[in-house]
């Protein structure tokens, strides 16, 4: 250390204070003496309570964000599987030979560009499709059962559905084309509404968390009024004081965010295991139909980590802004 950095001690003072000693030699200087502790007393902040509040808020936000992710993924799966197929329905009509109409419709589909596979459901297969609703043991041979033809789209070439519809209209009034567009549109609208609700829930939870942090910060500044005043009087500016509070609240935010995110991750992990274990049950099939496979995936866990990071960071920012506002009002 250069001499001009030293405090000019009154060396000609003969009387020293009791226990006073001469200048310390460099070799006698011990290691770091500062305990790297916060200048804001830890006990002056309701740390445990705030961590629990942040953890609960993070958990709820992660559940909402995770649900949005699952719905979004399920919609993508539905859309991919639905739009890869179209169907032709041939209805029995008086005076028409349904078998001839089915054969003509299948032929028209095969001759349409962009259709790579055509599957005609026989009468027996069509009757089998009705079994879940009508049960078994009934003689439904006399019923006018429509016939179904499914068409697989070429993923690399968009089929000319308008041309196919014209050809089917030429065959007769009994055949009609369904490209599932209306169903997909309704499904997407519903799913998007769910995602918007989930994002809104995340935003509300984050806002509630920010309010709790702001309240705790104001309380901490009030409790540490003396500390803040001493810091100012020894030359600290508002930024320094705000950073000290920010550092303390950031550590609380990280702790609470981690706990909440970890709890949410465990929930989704367990839900994935349970959905796999009970995959063959009717309830699981219905759940899977709505929410997809329930496999959260790396993106889902990444989303949870992102929510936790946003909670921790927003905790720090809110505390910093709150402290600066309080200091301005105190000044």
């Amino acid at each position: 250390m250069s001499e001009n950095m030293r405090v000019a001690l009154p060396v000609d003072t003969q009387e020293r204070f009791e226990g006073a000693s001469d200048s310390v030699s460099p070799s006698a200087v011990p290691g770091p003496l500062r305990r790297q502790g916060s200048l804001v007393p830890q006990r002056s902040i309701a740390g445990r309570s705030l961590v629990m509040v942040i953890a609960i808020m993070t958990f709820l936000a992660c559940l909402a964000a995770g649900s949005a992710h699952l719905v979004s993924r399920a919609v993508a799966d539905w859309t991919a599987s639905i739009v890869s197929e179209m169907s032709i329905e041939v209805r029995p009509m008086p005076g028409r030979d349904i078998e001839a109409d089915v054969a003509a419709a299948a032929e028209a589909a095969r001759n349409t560009k962009g259709i790579i596979a055509v599957k005609v459901f026989s009468r027996a297969e069509s009757e089998a499709l009705l079994q879940p609703w009508l049960g078994t043991g009934l003689d439904i041979g006399d019923l006018p059962i429509p016939r179904m033809i499914t068409l697989a789209r070429d993923p690399n070439a968009k089929p000319d559905t308008a041309d196919l519809a014209r050809r089917l209209a030429a065959i007769g009034p009994s055949a009609s084309l369904d490209d599932h567009r209306a169903f997909v549109t309704r499904l997407s609208s519903m799913a998007n509404a769910l995602i918007v609700v989930a994002v809104g829930v995340v935003a509300l939870v984050l806002a509630a968390s920010a309010l709790a942090v702001g309240f705790a910060t104001r309380s901490a500044v009030a409790l540490n009024h003396e500390v803040v005043e001493v810091l100012h009087l020894v030359g600290a500016d508002d930024d320094f004081v705000a950073r000290e509070f920010e550092r303390r609240f950031l550590s609380l935010g990280i702790e609470g965010g981690f706990l909440g995110a970890a709890a949410a991750a465990v929930c989704y992990f367990m839900a994935g295991i349970l959905s796999t274990k009970f995959a063959s049950t009717a309830a699981a099939e219905q759940m899977e139909a709505v929410f997809g496979s329930f496999q959260f995936g790396a993106i889902g866990y990444g989303l949870i980590a992102l929510v936790a990071a946003v909670v921790a960071y927003s905790t720090a920012i809110v505390s910093r802004l709150t402290v600066k506002r309080r200091l301005r009002s105190m000044a």
Binding site: M1, F17, L33, G37
Partner: protein
């Protein structure tokens, strides 16, 4: 040190008044200046307004009227950064010490350096040297609640000195110590004054003031009168 040329005032009060709320003025029409390198006592009976005047000087209170200039600038027009710079030129020894109880003696004394953003390695030896000089070399790891009154006083003084202030404010620095230590503390302040620090000591201890002839700012009934020393400042016996 003063080279004989009358320097511009470090602090100048012009018709300053302070009132709390709607009550009467506790300080009335104060007009005075404090020069660099000067030494003065601030005295007066209890309740005369000494603490309020010190708060004005240490920028923790704004006057309700009048102007205060520090280092040539009107305090009321200073930015936050300017106020911080002025505070960093000022060392304060509080009557009640105001050490932070959750920090060790070392951390308390190092506080002015830490708030300036300096790395501990750059001031560690300096703080230790000062602590040893004031006799707290073996108490640097101790928290203030276990320090005696005299030790707290010395830690507070070390904290005020560590950043080499141009101006030192001491509020009743001998109020909690025995006469022997009070004498030693006064010697310390006098030595610091001789090394170039302007000093103001608030005290109502006449025996302390009689040990060193210096300018006296006497507060009474909210008004200030100034008693200049009769002769040159004399060293302590």
């Amino acid at each position: 040190m003063n080279d004989g040329i009358d320097p511009a005032p470090m602090i100048r009060f012009r018709h300053v008044g302070v009132r709390y709320g709607v009550g009467p003025e506790v300080l009335r029409d104060l007009t005075f200046a404090i020069a660099p390198y000067s030494f003065q006592f601030l005295t007066g009976p209890s309740g005369a307004g000494k603490s309020t005047l010190l708060k004005l000087i240490m920028l923790s209170l704004r006057p309700t009227r009048g102007t205060i200039e520090m280092y040539g600038s009107d305090v009321a027009r200073m930015t936050e950064a300017q106020l911080t710079m002025v505070r960093r030129k000022t060392g304060v020894v509080f009557q009640e010490f105001r050490l932070l109880d959750h920090l060790t003696t070392f951390e308390n004394v190092a506080l002015p350096m830490r708030v300036q953003g300096r790395a501990e390695a750059s001031y560690r030896a300096e703080v230790i040297e000062l602590l040893q000089w004031v006799g707290l070399g073996d108490r640097m790891h101790v928290l203030p609640p276990v320090l005696s009154g005299g030790e707290k006083q010395r830690a507070a003084i070390a904290r005020a000195l560590i950043a080499k202030p141009e101006f030192l404010i001491a509020d009743e620095p001998t109020g909690n110590v025995d006469p022997t230590l009070a004498h030693r503390l006064l010697r310390l302040f006098v030595e610091l004054h001789r090394l170039g620090t302007a000093i103001i000591i608030a005290t109502h201890d006449h025996s302390l003031m009689e040990q060193f002839e210096a300018r006296r700012l006497v507060l009474g009934d909210g008004r200030l009168s100034i008693e200049e020393p009769m002769g040159l400042e004399e060293p302590l016996p």
